[in-house]
Amino acid sequence: MLEQIVQIVSNERSTDSYYRLVVRAPQIAPRIQPGQFAHVRILPMKDALLRRPFSIFQVEGDTFSILYKTVGKGTVALARMQSGEELSVIAPLGHGFTVPQPGAETPLLVAGGYGMAAMYLLARRSPQKGIVFVGGRRRVDILCEREFQDLGWEVRVTTEDGSHGEKGLVTQPLLAELKSAQRGRKLFACGPTPMLQAVGKIAGEHDVPAELSMDEHMCCGVGVCLTCVIRVRSGDTWEYRRTCTEGPVFDARDVVWEEAR
């Protein structure tokens, strides 16, 4: 974990409301593990003070990049920034994914929307190839399909409106795949909370291991404020654990789901 002022190398619109931001961060880049995130202070935000967390998408030499969607004041302000401008970044943060080792279970990655960002680095670092299940509402929400194919991974796409790939939810092809052969598989998921909950349920029912990257609101990002907690099994009860430090990646069996908000 380091705090650094970093320079924007590029910040370009990818599709629709998704952007790719590349920053030069020589001390941070080499330390990044898949599933970790960067906590970014976007100075041009007017009267909004807090940092915004983003999964690390790619690492190249002394740069790293994030893939983000414009949803509110922070991401909109970020999208307006240009190469050469500066950001303050605290990274790498959090406990990431277990990178599959040679001979371990075949990784099945499940991603929704910007969840693809965290998955890409995992796929890239994984010596073992597997399948990526990616879902979204419309065609524009399917990110990085090509990048995963270029890494030699199979990509199965679903969209809710059927505009690309299979029509429906990402869990459909996943269930089909698990039915074909449950053993020797491990799930890794990142995306909206309802998707994570569905994946967790499927993993439990099929008794396959699963690592979920939880999407909780954060404040400090480094474990001091206790904003980002989720309920995690502890003996026969539960306790709050911080997604920013003990997570964002948790073993699906440990997560105690609260009612959907």
């Binding site: 909004a48 609101h217 404040c219 404020c225 904003t227």
Partner: protein, 322 residues
């Protein structure tokens, strides 16, 4: 201060090069007046990777009560204009958990550690105080009688002069450690509360805790916090906090640790002029963990620019006549 060796700063002061930033809170001496606000700095260890804790005036930890506390459901914080709301619900490991998990690290620090404590009864406050008194090596205890986010305990003690006096007096009987009473901003006039804490034996006051507030997400129609209401902190409350410090300082003789929205040295100096002897950086840690160190450097620069040698030349120096 547990530092036996002379810091580079204090040497420079003797040589007449550097202003003296040290300050006394009861029998405790801080090398500089910049501390951190309880609940915004965890147990110190989390920020140790990002900054040198030994450069702070003191480290103040998250509120502890006797037993572990699960805290409130989420969402626990929300961003608002120039500030934030929180209703963490004082999640914490309890006295034993704290001593076991965090004291080994904290006890190695060269700067004083101030432990923020709370309870739901006068007796529980006193018991927690006794436990930390027995621990040894604690710099001071800060009595949180003003948390707006828990049903029992907390704010009820801070908004009732009589109860406030009882809590402080019970804690006073339980220890000789310096006691700091953390005041609620949610009173019509802070002066009698400040006086009650002083009279009951508090060595200092911390002014102020967060202000009761609320935000609603208009798309979902839900309060932005699971707890419905929470405490407002950050730069938006600074003018309220400055006024409370100014009024409290006129009511008591004991030192005041000022806090509420401090982002930079100018903010800290405003608190000094209003009457604070020391300050704490809170919400700003979340978005800029270097803030406490930047504030220390900025105070030093200001004093040099103005030719000031001691903090006492600034404290309470607001000019009321025109």
């Amino acid at each position: 201060m547990r530092a036996e060796t002379q810091s580079p700063e204090s040497r420079a002061v003797e040589e007449g090069l550097e202003p003296d930033l040290s300050v006394s809170i009861g029998k405790l001496t801080l090398q500089n007046p910049v501390t951190v606000a309880s609940g915004t700095f965890g147990y110190g260890v989390e920020y140790a990777q990002l900054l040198d804790l030994n450069q702070l005036g003191a480290v103040v930890v998250k509120g502890i009560r006797l037993n572990p506390v699960p805290g409130n459901p989420t969402p626990r914080t929300a961003e608002v204009t120039s500030g934030m709301l929180n209703a963490i619900g004082l999640q914490g490991p309890g006295v034993d958990g704290f001593i076991q998990k965090y004291w080994p690290f904290l006890s190695t620090l060269k700067v004083p550690v101030i432990i923020n404590i709370w309870g739901t009864t006068v007796e529980e406050y006193a018991e927690v105080v006794r436990r930390f008194d027995a621990l040894g090596g604690v710099g001071a205890l800060e009595l949180n009688v003003s948390c707006p986010n828990i049903k029992e305990g907390g704010a009820q003690f801070g908004t009732d002069c009589n109860l406030l006096g009882q809590v402080v007096a019970a804690c006073r009987r339980a220890t000789t450690l310096p006691l700091i009473t953390k005041m609620s901003p949610n009173v019509v006039n802070i002066a009698p509360y400040a006086k009650a804490a002083e009279d009951a034996g508090s060595d200092a006051l911390a002014v102020t805790n967060s202000y009761p507030a609320m935000a609603i997400d208009i798309e979902t129609r839900r309060p932005k916090l699971a707890n419905i209401t929470g405490g407002l902190t950050g730069p938006c409350i600074k003018p309220i906090a400055i006024k409370l410090v100014w009024e409290a300082a006129r009511a008591v003789k004991i030192p005041i640790i000022g806090m509420g929205g401090i982002q930079n040295a100018e903010d800290a100096i405003e608190f000094f002029m209003a009457g604070a002897s020391a300050v704490a950086v809170g919400t700003a840690n979340f978005y800029e963990p270097q803030t406490p160190l930047q504030v220390i450097a900025g105070i030093r620069e200001f004093m040099k620019r103005k030719g000031l040698r001691n903090l006492s030349q600034i404290v309470g120096s607001v000019q009321l006549t025109r």
